[in-house]
Symmetry: C2
Subunit: 405 residues, 2 copies
């Protein structure tokens, strides 16, 4: 994650410089109104935006945090102009991931503010750059945790875009082309991304149900896919929140015999409804884990907090695999080396998934009706929703209606 030196292309640097000059010379700077609302007569057919979106910054409305309190407030800001390889998406829904809360509260390092979170984003393509053939105006599209990158690097083809040093993550990441200097996320009215980092949202899934698939879906789908899940495999899922409940549904849909481990007793009935074989409530002393020692073929843990890795990993058979996908405060998890040695389980952590997998999980979930449990909220409910996520009250994903930004 050493990407402080963004390797932007000549094109984006030029855009950036010209847009900065424009900002410096414009009396409209700061109003955020330059191209909004009143200029509707300039819009091209099929889009509310006119041709100037390719040369001038795009105004956007969002909810941003302004300091480590993480309190979100309405904020008007600008996106970069739509470049030759970019798509502009009018956001319809954006859902809330625990990562949004961690990053905006500074749990993962110091942040630049104002910052707009959100990396589970769906909407309608409103403009495309001249090189873009993947999308046309009016297409349904989704954006996940990445918005830009080298795209041509062999590293991406070999291991996935999320491991490429040139990749720009969706919010709070240094991005020279962005008028604010950092990428700004999806709790907003629109977003401009390189077309490689947008996926198609098929017609057979609703926007609001598709949104959580862009991070929670692919983050759990990718390691399950790499494990080469087979029918009848005994799969454990620990932490049944936004990611975990999708991991459960995905594993069940693949024919696995799923055991869910939760720390929240009142989730049990709901989880049973997802088709699991067992639900285990684990208390602070972790005693309930003892009964499952060495029982599972594979396990995925989504806890967004520090926990005893070795104690959970021991539920997997010796030489089996245990994957961590949750990212706790400071990213630190505690591993007892003797415990890991005694269970002889392979422990790895997995970072989202690549763009191919992102498209795949959206299609798979749409076709197989593997749908997240969601609650649609308005923008003004976001701060309460964040508190509820931390308090483990979400059932299971809050999805923000972008019409309310």
């Amino acid at each position: 994650m050493n990407n402080q030196d963004s390797k932007s292309t000549k094109r984006s640097t030029d855009h950036d410089n010209s847009s900065r000059e424009f900002i410096q010379n414009s009396a409209l700077v700061g109003s955020g109104l330059m191209m909004a609302g009143g200029a509707s007569s300039m819009f091209a057919a099929g889009s509310k935006y006119g041709p100037e979106v390719h040369t001038q910054n795009v105004p956007s409305r969002g909810y941003a945090a302004f300091d480590t309190s993480g309190v979100l407030k309405p904020w008007k800001f600008e996106r970069r102009p739509v470049g030759d390889n970019d798509v502009l998406i009018d956001v319809k829904f954006a859902s809330i991931c625990h990562s949004d809360i961690h990053q905006l509260k500074g749990h993962w390092g110091s942040q630049q503010y104002p910052q707009v979170p959100g990396h589970e984003i769906v909407g309608i393509v409103a403009a495309v750059g001249k090189n873009v053939t993947k999308f046309k105006v009016g297409d349904r599209a989704g954006v996940g945790c990445m918005v830009d990158g080298c795209k041509n690097g062999t590293c991406c083809e070999e291991h996935g875009e999320q491991y490429c040093p040139d990749t720009v993550f969706t919010y709070g990441y240094p991005q020279e082309s962005s008028p604010t200097g950092i990428s700004q996320g999806g709790y907003s009215s629109n977003i401009v991304v390189n077309d490689h980092f947008a996926v198609h949202i098929p017609e057979n899934i609703s926007f609001e149900e598709a949104a959580p698939l862009l991070c929670a879906g692919v983050t759990t789908y990718s390691p399950l896919l790499k494990f080469d899940l087979k029918k009848g495999d005994k799969v454990g899922v620990a932490g049944i929140g936004g990611l975990g409940h999708l991991a459960v549904k995905l594993a069940v849909s693949k024919g696995a015999e799923v055991t869910a481990f939760t720390t929240t007793a009142d989730k049990v009935d709901g989880i049973k409804g997802f088709g699991v074989k067992n639900v285990v409530v684990v208390d602070d002393e972790l005693k309930a884990l003892g009964d499952y020692r060495g029982q599972l073929d594979y396990m995925i843990n989504t806890f967004p907090v520090d926990y005893d890795v070795a104690a959970y990993a021991a539920a997997v058979k010796p030489f089996g695999t245990y994957t961590q996908v949750g990212m706790p405060e400071g990213f630190s998890v505690s591993a007892n080396a003797l415990g890991l040695a005694a269970s002889r389980v392979n422990f790895n952590a997995s970072l989202i998934g690549d763009m191919k997998e992102t498209q795949e999980v959206v299609n798979y979930c749409a076709d197989n009706k593997v749908l997240p449990e969601i609650q649609v909220i308005s923008a003004e409910q976001i701060n309460q929703a964040w508190e509820d996520v931390v308090a483990k009250k979400a059932r299971y994903r809050y999805v923000i209606d972008a019409a309310t930004f």
Copy 2:
């Protein structure tokens, strides 16, 4: 490691009870001299011990710690009588492992004292039980980290004795058959173990060079073997002490291209002599690791202290394997989940090796002249040697001459 309830056999319980009665009724108790030295006229041919070793406790002299200071002093104690499946070994050499220091100083939990450490033990078989066919009196034999266990359990056949809940580790482990209530290790004149847990020491290796193979050798050999090391593989070894220098020599002997990572600059020349391709000195800021990001096929880390797992693991290629064999204070190592995710390396910890592998590494090292670097010391030098091990001054294994106990 929940083996507080030792499942001893009826036989050993009987031995234990009768030996306790004997001790209570004997005026010689505590002298430790009952069967030693002066009673030589009773000894069977080929052994200094008489037939009473099968019915009465066996006196032993060793060096024990008496509290968490870990200061070792001479101590006379008794071993269990030699049971039907046991061998009595007169110890010739025992070498010093960092684990001895950790355990005796209470770094891994509270201990029963007096406790004799030592789990790298070689010597000559002095008596065998009536069921023993594997050894005869006069054979060269070695004992590692385990001395007793279920032996018949399928768990051992499937995954190795070290993962069996019934296994008794060589010192400080609850053991009903032991007159002291716990197993007592190899810093001593003799040891009684179940024959399954002793290996043959071939004639083509010296006792003193064989000793370190019983723990340091098999602990590094076992994961290298499981990795299925091939000629030309790029292998990293971090922590070049007792275990690490054997890991280097083993990997070099298998044809690997070895990169050694050490925190001790003055070890560099010595390490080059082992046939490595690169030696990297890593300081506290870990900067030197950056050059090796994603370069290695496999890596083994022997640090007996807490460290940044993800930073070292990142030297391995994505989806490669990284094995921890060192056991730090409290067994705890710090894993940065984002770092692990970004490198996408499989992290596991490995516990010694099974008995088959123990015999195999001894034979392999003898046949291929893969020999540890050793310094032979006398018993009275042990306390200084422990200090030198902690201060990273060992080059690379201290081997105690048991004649000096």
